[in-house]
């Protein structure tokens, strides 16, 4: 029987499975992704997901689950049409969901479906790679055999970040990792380092490990070899959203369960993920330069049209009508059926299928997708032009422009740098996706103040002065809206755009970083030359720490209050509020007493906010509100400690933020006692705690002296009974 079970397990383990997340759960490719999912965007004339699937197939993966969320129908239709479903020894299954808003949700859903039976590969549908998985898989399995806590192997690759902009060549932030050089275990992961140039590591890292290496020249390929536990971990920790920021960091910080993450570095093979426009540009160029061989345009890895590679890295598909006077420069890909007019110059660009390009056009470093019409005399620089766009004669694109589907640019119109043009209007801020983005930002460090100078700001102002958004703003006869760049997003825009960062901006960044480097140096000169810290500086530090904690708790309270208010407005059930507050508590590392205090504060605030004329009415408000939220309050008051915290909180409120309550202190306290929210022990403990306090602090103890007295007597009576 046992043997049979083992056999079954063995059988079940054999097919290698992979999960492709066909949604990046970000908005970095907007406005394009409003109309088409990111994974179907063409990358050197083949949809991104084809690269991922072709790689997984050649790497020996047998079963692939494609998780589709945004535009899921388009993804499924595409997979259907392109025969991915009918491959021998390679089964592709789609999992559809409409309410997942993060990778965490997706994995929880997949866990529920119970389709993953063994170790699996987790990638997103925008991964380009040619690595062989066998070595990494072998290492992973080996480690698993020795240590069942080794749940994940991350694939990394050397790639030096730019010393000036502090970002990788893929446009992502500089990544710091601490890796044990012997076991290759990942000990620390930080991709949101502030520009101040320091990094704080836990001391335990140094004491627990014989040697560690801190690396900033590694690129995270976002290819993970996971054990099935990963899925259940996501389900257990329902607040994990982001694969790296929540999951990886969560596992690294949490040492109760002892789960471990390892890394596998690849050298000769290629792996990268398209995260933003910059990486779109970089990876396209890598493909054209054949680093991804055999996933290159002239090899028909899947469904892409036959293309020939000519001298100097020029790729040409058949049936191109090209004027003899046109110049097609190096590293250029021209798709099937495209026509190119006289004296047109194209360099470092990708042109899709069925485009017609007129005469005297200059195209440099652009990505032009299918069926685009570019009339005579247009000038395009470092831009992305989506399907069906028309550029009337004389129009020009400055670097970094993105023209979404079917936009028409008017005659002689100059589209300003870094603008995004779409037929759809820019969504208003209170979009659910926007909220997600916002949450992402708030969990990291605040964005660096824009250094892009006044010029951009002027531009923005000009743009806002343009006629009302109901009218198209892309010139005479143009169709499309120019999206405004969000406040503080200028810098982001610059870093993530397809266009290279202009030299003057680079100089500006360099100066800023230099300044920042200088400041700590100057500070350093005040320190004792021996480098030891004086007692003053230590106390300073601890003060700062204390302040940090205080800051945290204030932010936490605000968050809880906001959550609670949302719950009141949207009539959310208690369970959901508890869930949200719990996740807040975890993310701010707070005790349950803090939750109780914060929640109580919110409830009282609610009562206070309700209209009232006299203290009596206010008291009535309190009674109704407390009745309504009694269950919720009780949930957070499992023991005396929390109840005391609540009383202290109330006292604080009466003293500081809500003085209107001070005359009602006793009444409210009595009511809470009647409602069984606060027990007499808590009140008595609170009173005895306060006995030693200063007179000013004792106001409320005195106010409730009688009540306390009564309570004491009552308890004594009970004892007597």
């Amino acid at each position: 029987m046992v043997a049979k079970k083992d056999e079954e397990e063995e059988l079940a383990r054999t097919p290698l499975q992979a999960i492709i997340l066909a949604d990046s759960f970000t908005t970095k490719f907007r406005p394009i992704t409003l109309e088409r999912p990111k994974v179907l965007l063409p990358l050197v004339n083949a949809p991104m997901i084809d690269y991922t699937l072709a790689w997984l197939e050649s790497a020996g993966v047998e079963e692939v689950f494609v998780f589709c969320c945004a535009h899921s129908k388009q993804v499924i239709d595409y997979l259907d049409k392109s025969n991915w479903f009918g491959q021998p020894n390679f089964s592709v299954t789609t999992i559809e969901s409409h309410n997942a808003i993060s990778a965490g949700d997706a994995l929880r859903l997949i866990y529920e479906q119970q389709v993953i039976r063994g170790d699996f590969i987790l990638v997103s549908g925008d991964t380009v790679s040619n690595m062989s998985l066998s070595q990494a898989l072998k290492e992973h399995k080996e480690r698993r055999r020795n240590d069942s806590n080794a749940v994940m192997t991350m694939v990394i690759k050397q790639s030096k970040p730019s010393p000036i902009t502090r970002q990788s060549r893929l446009g992502t932030e500089e990544l710091f990792m601490v890796i044990d050089p012997e076991t290759k275990q990942l000990l620390y992961y930080e991709d949101r380092v502030n520009l101040k140039g320091y990094l704080s590591l836990d001391k335990a890292l140094l004491t627990d490990n014989t040697s560690i290496s801190l690396q900033n020249d590694k690129q995270d390929c976002y290819i993970d070899i996971c054990s099935p536990e990963v899925l259940s971990l996501f389900t257990d920790n329902f607040d994990y959203q982001h694969l790296r920021r929540d999951f990886v960091k969560g596992l690294l910080v949490d040492d109760i369960m002892g789960y471990k993450i390892y890394t596998h570095e690849i050298h000769s093979s290629y792996a990268a993920r398209i995260d933003n426009y910059r990486s779109y540009d970089t990876i396209s160029k890598d493909i054209i330069q054949r680093w991804t061989y055999p996933l290159v345009p002239d090899v028909q890895f899947f469904g892409n049209s036959a293309t020939k590679l000519e001298r100097q890295g020029m790729y040409r598909a058949p049936e191109i009508k090209q004027s003899r006077l046109s110049k097609i420069g190096p590293f250029t890909v021209i798709g099937t059926g495209t026509s190119i007019g006289i004296n047109t110059e194209i360099s470092n660009s990708v042109v899709g299928e069925g485009c017609s390009i007129g005469a005297n056009v200059t195209i440099e470093g652009c990505y032009i997708w299918d069926n685009v019409t570019i009339e005579d005399g247009c000038k395009l620089k470092h831009s992305i032009v989506c399907d069906g766009v028309t550029m009337n004669s004389g129009a020009a694109l400055e670097p970094g422009v993105v023209l979404s589907f079917k936009v028409v640019v008017g005659r002689n119109f100059l589209v300003p740098a870094y603008s995004k043009v779409s037929l759809l209007q820019q969504p208003i801020k209170q979009d659910s996706d926007e909220e997600l983005e916002y949450a992402d930002n708030s969990s990291g460090i605040p964005e660096v103040p824009s250094i892009s100078g006044t010029l951009d700001k002027l531009n923005e102002e000009e743009r806002t002065e343009l006629p009302d958004s109901q009218e198209y703003d892309v010139g005479d006869g143009g169709v499309g809206f120019i999206w405004l760049v969000s406040e503080g997003g200028q810098e982001e825009e610059l870093r993530h755009s397809v266009a290279p960062i202009p030299v003057d901006k680079l100089v500006a960044i360099m100066q800023i970083t230099n300044d920042e480097v200088d400041i700590p140096n100057e500070d350093g000169s005040f320190l004792p030359p021996s480098g030891e810290l004086g007692p003053d500086s230590i106390t300073n530090d601890s003060n700062e720490d204390a302040e940090d904690i205080r800051d945290d708790s204030i932010i936490f309270e605000r968050e809880v209050e906001a959550t609670f208010q949302r719950a009141v407005e949207e009539d959310v059930t208690d369970d959901h509020v508890i869930l949200e507050v719990n996740s807040l508590r975890l993310s701010y590392n707070m005790a349950s007493a803090d939750c109780a205090g914060a929640l109580f504060y919110s409830v009282m605030k609610l009562a206070l906010d309700a209209p009232h004329d006299s203290p009596n009415e206010l008291y009535k408000n309190v009674v109704t509100t407390v009745r309504k939220w009694k269950k919720l309050l009780k949930y957070y008051l499992p023991s005396i400690d929390e109840e005391i915290e609540v009383i202290l909180k109330f006292e604080e409120m009466c003293l500081e933020s809500a003085k209107e309550y001070s005359p009602l202190f006793l009444q409210v306290l009595h009511h809470l006692y009647d409602q069984d929210i606060i027990q007499e022990e808590a009140i008595l403990d609170w009173a005895s705690e306060k006995e030693g306090a200063e007179e000013s602090d004792k106001v409320f103890v005195k106010q409730s002296e009688k009540f306390i007295q009564w309570l004491k007597e009552a308890s004594e009576e009970e004892e007597e009974d």
Binding site: S58, P88, Y270, K285, T292, L309, G365, A499, P500
Partner: protein, 418 residues
């Protein structure tokens, strides 16, 4: 379509099969299984079979146009079908063959045959590739006139009278074809043995032989000479960037040969001490030019400069009936630059986020070199040694049966503007 074929095509597209010999063998095996699974109609059997193989062949060739061995094998198999058909009809019809000429015109349309003479030469070509050559060659010529007749319109003229034969014939045709394809596979597998047999005639005592990269055929050739008690030394150029020469050196040392490893760039310095250069090839083109691993042209030029014989070993499956046009580009494959450089080390040179955004570093890693025929002193195939001009005639004779798919070499040249 056959699942086996689809799988093979995918493998070819993804460049998962390396080496012309392995490709040739797999192609032949895939075609054999196609033939055995193909249900043949009662009439026009050969034509049906040829059509089927041709469609599959076209797809295989398109899957990896650089690997010319696929096309070679497809042509060989088509040739086999025709010949078997001819010999069967010849046996059945006997003297009637002469009367068949009238049906030819009909046939041109259907099969695109260039003509009778072509068919005849093709048959001859096949026989030249097989050892008992001259006799069969002479015998085959009259028979082959019947090719068009039976392959397409044969049924009309003598269908009724011979209907009893049909069934047995159809089975026989298939059987014979499969038999012949098996023979072809056998030839591919054993070609290096036949080439190695000739080693003693070419390698003499105390000679110094130079080779580049790693070729199984060359290895067997050298070892065969060693087994025959020839004592000689081998110089192996390592063959950057794949360094397959290292593997060859290891193998040769294991077999007890005196071996010297040099870098590719030291070839010119070394060549004056060398008595003969022996190398393998990727493909031998119709004009006798050789597509070979990168670096070979340099070796050939060095050999010519010092009047050292430059000998190319090539199995019959490597003989391609196409002419090379612009072979440096069109018959080449650029591999990943990762074989040359470490991506991580150079990642800062490949950062497109600053400066002009255009890549300043370009890494070219071609897989093949083209050695023009005038640099090759001798070809050794499994049928013996030939010089370059004779290789021409072998190769061309094979293409003349050319209803079969051509690789796009010729068409490509039109689109190529110098």
């Amino acid at each position: 379509m056959n699942a086996l074929v689809t799988e093979f095509i995918i493998k070819l597209k993804k460049r998962k099969i390396e080496g012309s010999k392995a490709t040739a063998k797999l192609t032949a095996e895939v075609l054999r299984s196609c033939i055995s699974q193909k249900r043949l109609p009662h009439t026009h059997q050969a034509a049906a079979l040829i059509d089927a193989i041709r469609t599959i062949g076209e797809k295989l060739i398109a899957a990896n146009p650089v690997e010319l061995a696929i096309g070679n094998i497809v042509r060989r198999v088509l040739n086999i079908i025709r010949e078997e058909d001819v010999s069967l009809t010849a046996a059945a019809v006997g003297g009637l063959a002469v009367s068949a000429g009238s049906d030819d015109e009909d046939d041109f349309k259907q099969d695109d045959h260039p003509g009778l003479s072509a068919a005849a030469v093709a048959a001859a070509a096949r026989s030249t590739l097989r050892p008992p050559s001259l006799q069969t060659l002479l015998e085959d010529i009259p028979q082959s006139t019947a090719v068009p007749h039976t392959s397409s319109s044969g049924g009309d003229s003598e269908g009724k009278s011979k209907s009893a034969d049909k069934n047995s014939k159809s089975r026989k045709l298939k059987h014979n074809v499969i038999e012949a394809v098996n023979e072809l596979i056998q030839d591919i597998v054993t070609c290096h043995e036949q080439i190695a047999e000739q080693a003693v005639e070419h390698i003499h005592h105390n000679e110094v032989i130079l080779t580049l990269g790693n070729s199984r055929t060359v290895m067997e050739f050298l070892c065969a000479a060693k087994e025959k008690k020839r004592s000689f030394r081998v110089v192996v150029a390592e063959g950057a960037p794949r360094y397959q020469g290292h593997a060859l050196a290891k193998e040769l040392v294991a077999r007890g040969l005196q071996t010297t490893v040099i870098t590719d760039s030291a070839i010119f310095a070394m060549i004056s001490r060398v008595n003969m250069v022996v190398v393998g090839a990727h493909t031998v083109m119709a004009n006798g030019g050789v597509i070979a691993p990168v670096g070979m042209n340099m070796v050939a030029l060095a050999a010519q400069r010092h009047a050292v014989p430059f000998v190319v070993l090539a199995g019959a499956h490597k003989l391609c009936p196409l002419y090379p046009h612009n072979p440096e580009v069109l018959l080449n494959e650029l591999k990943s630059p990762a074989e040359l450089l470490d991506f991580g080390e150079f990642s800062d040179c490949l950062d497109f986020g600053s400066s002009s955004g255009s890549p300043l570093l370009h890494v070219v890693n071609p897989a093949f070199d083209y050695v023009p025929p005038n640099l090759v002193s001798l070809f050794i195939t499994d049928t013996g040694g030939h010089n370059a001009s004779y290789i021409c005639s072998i190769n061309i004779s094979e293409v003349t049966h050319s209803a079969e798919p051509k690789t796009s070499c010729r068409q490509e040249v039109l689109s190529w503007i110098y």
